[in-house]
C-alpha cells in the first residue's frame, strides 16, 4: 500500500508541474482556438473553414506573425450539435486558455456556445452561422457571414418577383432552420404572399417521401426548403421522383457539393440564396493561393474561414490580447479580404455583406438570371 501511495503522490506532483499557464499571451506564440464541426452531418462547414484558416495561418506566420509572435490555431471538433460545441469551446477556454475562438458551424452550435463565451469574456467569431438570433446572442459573438434576417427578406423578395403567391415550406428543426423559416414566412406574408403549410423535419432525415406527398397535395406554386445540404439534395431528388414538379427554392447550405451529390440530376434548375461571393482583387489573390495549396477551387466557407483568422489578426495587431481587448478592437476593424469588406456593427454582424441568387446548372452553382419556371 505504501508504494502505491508514493506512486500516486509522484503522479500528482508531475501533473501539477505540467500546468502550462496562460499560454496564449506568452511572447513566443499566440494561440487561437477554433471550434468547428469537423465530423458529422454538417462537417463540410468545419472542413471548408479549416482549409481557409490553415491557409491564412501560414500566410500570417510567413509575414512574421502578429507583433513578432507566431500564431497557432488549435482545432476542436464541435460535432455539429449544441453539446459538442459547448464541449469544444469549454476545452479551448479552460485547457488551452485561448482568448478568441473561431466558431462554430451551425447556428445551433454557435447559439449553444454563446453563453459560455459571454460569461468567460472570450470572443467567438463564426465564419458560418447565419441565424438572425445570433445578433442578440451576446457582446462577444461575432460573425463574418451576413444574417438570415437579410436572407429571409432576399428569398421572399425573389419568390414574389417570380410571380409566386402560394408556397409550402419544409424546414429543419434547428436554430438555423426555425429562424430562417420564421423570417421568410413573415417577409413573404408581408409582401402579400400565402404560406400554405410549414413542415418540420429532423437533422439527418433521409426519407422525405411522406413530406413531399403532403406538400404536393396542397398544390403550392413553389416549395421553399430550409434544409441543410444533404437533406436538401435528398428532398429535391425524392420530390422529382414522386412527380412533385413545382419549383423548389433553397438557402445557403445548398451551395455545397454535398447537395449536388445527393440530388443528382434533380439539382438542375434548383434555386437558392447564399452569401454573395465577393469579386475583387483580394478574392482573386486568395483563390490563387488556395488553388496552389489545395488543387481545387475555394468555396464560400473556405473564404470566410480565411477572412475570420485575418480579421482576428487585424484586431490583435494593435496589441489586443485578452478577450475584452480583442472584442474592443474588433468593433473598430475594417478588413477587406476574400469575402469583401468585414466591419462589425454593434451586434457583431456584417450588414454590408449580402446574399446572392444562385442556381445549379450542369453541375455548377451559378448566378441565377432566368426567371423560375417549372422544370
Amino acid at each position: 500500500m505504501r508504494l502505491r501511495d508514493v506512486f500516486v503522490f509522484l503522479s500528482l506532483l508531475l501533473l501539477a508541474a505540467c500546468d502550462g499557464g496562460d499560454r496564449s499571451t506568452s511572447s513566443e506564440i499566440i494561440t487561437i482556438g477554433a471550434a468547428l464541426p469537423l465530423t458529422g452531418g454538417t462537417s463540410y462547414y468545419g472542413q471548408d473553414s479549416k482549409k481557409g484558416i490553415d491557409l491564412a495561418l501560414d500566410e500570417i506566420n510567413g509575414k512574421g506573425g502578429i507583433g513578432g509572435s507566431q500564431l497557432k490555431v488549435i482545432f476542436e471538433d464541435s460535432l455539429g450539435n449544441g453539446q459538442g460545441a459547448v464541449s469544444a469551446v469549454r476545452k479551448l477556454i479552460d485547457f488551452e486558455r485561448v482568448q478568441v475562438i473561431i466558431g462554430c458551424g451551425t447556428s445551433t452550435e454557435t447559439m449553444a456556445a454563446a453563453p459560455v463565451v459571454e460569461q468567460a469574456q472570450r470572443v467567438l467569431l463564426s465564419p458560418v452561422s447565419s441565424a438572425a438570433s445570433l445578433s442578440t446572442a451576446g457582446d462577444y459573438v461575432f460573425r463574418t457571414v451576413p444574417s438570415d434576417g437579410q436572407q429571409a427578406l432576399d428569398l421572399a423578395a425573389w419568390v414574389r418577383e417570380a410571380g409566386i403567391s402560394k408556397v409550402a415550406v419544409i424546414f429543419v428543426n434547428q436554430t438555423w432552420g426555425n429562424g430562417l423559416k420564421d423570417g421568410f414566412v413573415e417577409a413573404f406574408k408581408a409582401g402579400g404572399g400565402e404560406v400554405l403549410d410549414a413542415e418540420a423535419t429532423e437533422l439527418g432525415e433521409t426519407d422525405f417521401r411522406a413530406h413531399v406527398t403532403k406538400l404536393a397535395s396542397l398544390s403550392p406554386d413553389a416549395v421553399i426548403a430550409v434544409l441543410y445540404a444533404k437533406e436538401g439534395g435528398l428532398f429535391v431528388k425524392q420530390s422529382r421522383e414522386l412527380g412533385a414538379s413545382s419549383p423548389i427554392f433553397g438557402a445557403d447550405p445548398w451551395t455545397k457539393a454535398d447537395f449536388l451529390a445527393t440530388a443528382g440530376d434533380a439539382a438542375e434548375g434548383i434555386r437558392f440564396t447564399t452569401p454573395a461571393k465577393y469579386r475583387g482583387p483580394e478574392y482573386d489573390a486568395f483563390a490563387k493561393a488556395y488553388r496552389t495549396r489545395y488543387n481545387a477551387d475555394p468555396g464560400i466557407y473556405d473564404a470566410h474561414g480565411y477572412d475570420a483568422l485575418n480579421v482576428i489578426a487585424a484586431a490583435m495587431t494593435s496589441g489586443a490580447r485578452t478577450g475584452p481587448e480583442i472584442r474592443q478592437a474588433l468593433m473598430g476593424v475594417s478588413f477587406r479580404g476574400a469575402t469583401g469588406e468585414t466591419s462589425f456593427d454593434v451586434n457583431g454582424d456584417v450588414p454590408t455583406k449580402g446574399f446572392a441568387r444562385m442556381t445549379w446548372e450542369g453541375g455548377h452553382a451559378v448566378p441565377a438570371t432566368k426567371p423560375p419556371t417549372s422544370p
Partner: protein, 294 residues
Amino acid sequence: MIDQFPQLLVSGLLTGTVYGLVAVGYSLVYSVLGLVNFAHGAIVTLGAYTTVILIGDAGWPIPAAAAAVVLIGVVAGLSIEQFAYRPVRAGGAVQSLITALGVYVVIENFLALVFGSDSKNLPSTMTASVIMLPLGVRVTTVQLATTVVGVLMMVGVQAMISKAAVGRRLRAVADDPGRAASAGVNIGAVLRLTFGLGSALGALAGMFIALDTGCNPYMGGIIGFKAFAACAVARSVNTQAAVAVAVCIGVAESLVVGYLSSEYRNAIVLGVLTLMMLLGGGALPTWEGRARAP
C-alpha cells in the same frame, strides 16, 4: 387530402418492408435464444456501408455486391455470436443484453472512425428510374426491387421455418432446448444458423436502404429500435407477426407525416411501444435466457 392516401400508403409499405426485413433477424434470434440482439442494427449499417463502397466506390454490379453483403452479414453475425455472446451466455440475460449494446457501440464507432461520421451516398449518376402505378402513385425501381426481394425473402424464411427439416429443428430448439438436445438436435448448429440467417437478412436490409438513401454510421440505431419495437409488440415469438407490425409501423409513420405533422414521425414508434406496454402488461419479451446451449 384524400388524394395523397394511395401514395402515402405505398411509400409507407415500402419503408415498412425494410423494417420487416430487419425485424425478421431480431425475431429469429429472440425466439431461439431469448436474446434481444441489439447489435443487429449494426449489421444493417455494415450491409449499407458494404453496398456504398462496393457499388459506389469500386463500381461492382449489384448482384455481386449483394452476394458480398450477405457474406459480410453472415460472417459478422456468426463472429458476434461466437466471440461476444457465447462467452457470456451462462451469465444470464442482462449480461447478454449489455454485451449486445456494447457490440453495437463498437461497430458503430469503428465505422465512424474509419469512414468518418458523415453520411456516404452512391454517386449522383446512379439515379433510379421512376415507375408509374395506378392512382397516381409513383415508386422508383430501387423501391420496387427492395419490396419484391424483401417479400420473397421473408416468405422464403417462413416456408423454411415451417416446412424444412432444418426449420423443424429450429422450432424445436425455440420451444424447448432441453428436449431438443436430448432428441439429438445439434443446438450449436441451430444457433449458428439462426444468427447467420438473421444477419444475412439484416445486412440485405442495409443494402436496400443504402441503394435508396445512402449510409451513415448511426443509421442502425433508430432502425434497429423500430424492428425491436415490432418484435416487442408481436411478443417476438412469432416472426410473421413481427413483420406485420414492422410494416404497420412504416405505414403509420407515413400517414402521421402526411396527415398530422412530420414532427411526430419517430414518436409513433415510441407511442405504440408505450401503449402496448401499458395495455399488454407483459408486452415486452421476458428477459430470461431461453436456450442455454453449449
